[in-house]
């Protein structure tokens, strides 16, 4: 059991020492959030209605910056090959990598999304569903990102995002709907439960598929 903990520690060290891994999504998020009022309108009423969708789409797009970090450096320095040859449980290692990637690329954005109360005039009572839906929805998106990253390793092509974004559609719909429901006084717990169900259902499938995709690159 000590091996996964070592991997976890190593991943944490790598991410925390490479500041760009968590700064670039945050910068992207802040820039886009402050561009919306300039590009669309500075009318609080318009922004208030658009805010749930805008925040969710921005979070989705900012994961596009980070999803290639999950495997690409390990692929370039050869450590993935060593992990594959080590005979350890690969699904577990992939899960740890996705988890650490989520902590460093998604968690800061989720915390920063509170800023939308000031910048997008997002109503305060909507903050609870916003944070909960992001906390449960973004891990699923990171899973898709891991699969897309594993498939497009070493290739700079549009196929990664082209695969990831259509897959993320249900999460986007359910997430924004949860916020809109709660703003209109409707109970949003069913949407949160569905997001959780999607996460639990897809977790083993995507882990299995990502391991298969990683093995492809080393025949």
């Amino acid at each position: 059991m000590i091996y996964p903990i070592k991997i976890l520690k190593k991943e944490f060290l790598i991410y925390s020492r490479k500041s760009s891994s968590f700064i670039s999504p945050v910068v992207f998020f802040l820039i886009s959030i402050s561009l919306y009022p300039i590009g669309i309108s500075n009318d609080p009423d318009i922004l208030k209605n658009l805010a749930p969708g805008l925040i969710w789409i921005t979070v989705l797009l900012s994961t596009l910056i980070s999803f290639q970090n999950i495997f690409s450096e390990d692929y370039e320095d050869g450590s993935i090959e060593l992990l594959l040859a080590s005979g350890q449980n690969l699904s577990l290692i992939v899960l740890i990598k996705i988890f650490v990637n989520w902590i460093f690329s998604c968690l800061p954005i989720i915390i920063l999304s509170v800023l939308s109360v000031f910048l997008l005039y997002f109503p305060q009572e909507g903050l609870k569903p916003l944070i909960i839906s992001l906390l449960i929805g973004t891990p699923t998106i990171c899973l898709f990102g891991a699969l897309a990253g594993a498939l497009s390793l070493g290739k700079n092509s549009i196929t990664g995002p082209a695969l990831m974004l259509p897959l993320s559609l249900p999460v986007l719909i359910l997430g924004t709907q949860a916020i809109n429901y709660s703003l209109n006084g409707i109970n949003f717990s069913s949407n949160i439960l569905l997001l959780t169900a999607i996460l639990i259902f897809l977790l083993p499938i995507i882990l299995f598929a990502s391991v298969g995709a990683l093995k492809l690159h080393f025949n």
């Binding site: 699969l147 497009s152 549009i158 559609l169 249900p170 709907q177 897809l202 598929a209």
Partner: protein, 249 residues
């Protein structure tokens, strides 16, 4: 019976056998599919009655419904082939997915386009963000991702495996997409034909529609065989059996 099926399945995995058999089947299937499409188009466009509500515009149904239904069937058949490829490493399944993906994408596109042309005069808009349209668009994007992924791998086997993985993940996700957009927004008229509940259109319109659906399915079978033959000949061009075959002709 089971033995015969098993035998057929094993034979299907052999490229020379498939190449030989498909060469005999293609002209027959091609003849029937094209004549069915021609007959059903003429019947549907000129002889079936005009719709009471929508007028003559409804006649695009004879292109729209077959295209949309076949586009989904192709995707599900591809996912079965993907499972076969990942479990039994049957090379023919890889050929199947690679050959059928562009056909499926083409029919999804025809479905979306004919739907837009139908929707403009009937509902006054080319496109609405409605559940069925959105899930068909997502299906189209999946097809594009599959086709795009083909070209990023240099090794044939890796490309086939990658594409199989995407196809299976897509087929797991498609029902979720469908359900979630269903709850999100629905405007499209409900399906006109269903296997269990009978159909909501009159038999004079239904018969040419069923003929056109059959014709399009046969057409997909026909083009699928053609594409698979082309793919096999490009993969096996240096093999002994293929050289012998082409030197005979």
């Amino acid at each position: 019976m089971f033995q015969v099926l098993k035998n057929f399945y094993h034979k299907l995995g052999s490229f020379p056998w498939f190449y030989k058999i498909s060469g005999k089947v293609i002209p027959i299937v091609g003849f029937f599919s094209i004549s069915l499409i021609v007959i059903s188009s003429i019947w549907g466009l000129f002889f079936s009655p005009t719709d009471a509500v929508q007028g003559d515009v409804y006649r695009i149904i004879y292109f729209h419904v077959p295209a949309v239904s076949v586009s989904q069937v192709i995707y599900y058949s591809m996912s079965v082939a993907a499972a076969v490829f990942l479990i039994w490493r049957m090379k023919m399944a890889g050929v199947y997915i690679k050959s059928l993906a562009p056909i499926g994408a083409a029919f999804t596109f025809i479905g979306l386009l004919s739907g837009a042309i139908w929707g403009q005069p009937t509902w006054g808009t080319w496109w609405v963000w409605d559940a069925r349209l959105t899930s068909t668009l997502v299906l189209f994007l999946f097809y594009l991702a599959i086709i795009g992924m083909q070209s990023t791998f240099t090794s044939r086997k890796s490309a086939d495996t990658a594409v199989s993985i995407i196809t299976l993940v897509g087929v797991v996700n498609l029902p979720i997409v469908k359900k979630s957009v269903d709850w999100w927004n629905t405007l499209h008229q409900p399906a006109s034909i269903s296997i269990s509940g009978g159909s909501s259109i009159s038999s004079e319109m239904l018969i040419p529609l069923l003929l056109s659906i059959l014709g399009v399915y046969l057409f997909v079978f026909f083009t699928g065989l053609l594409f698979m033959r082309a793919e096999i000949s490009s993969r096996e061009q240096n093999k002994e059996w293929f050289k012998k075959l082409s030197s005979n002709n």
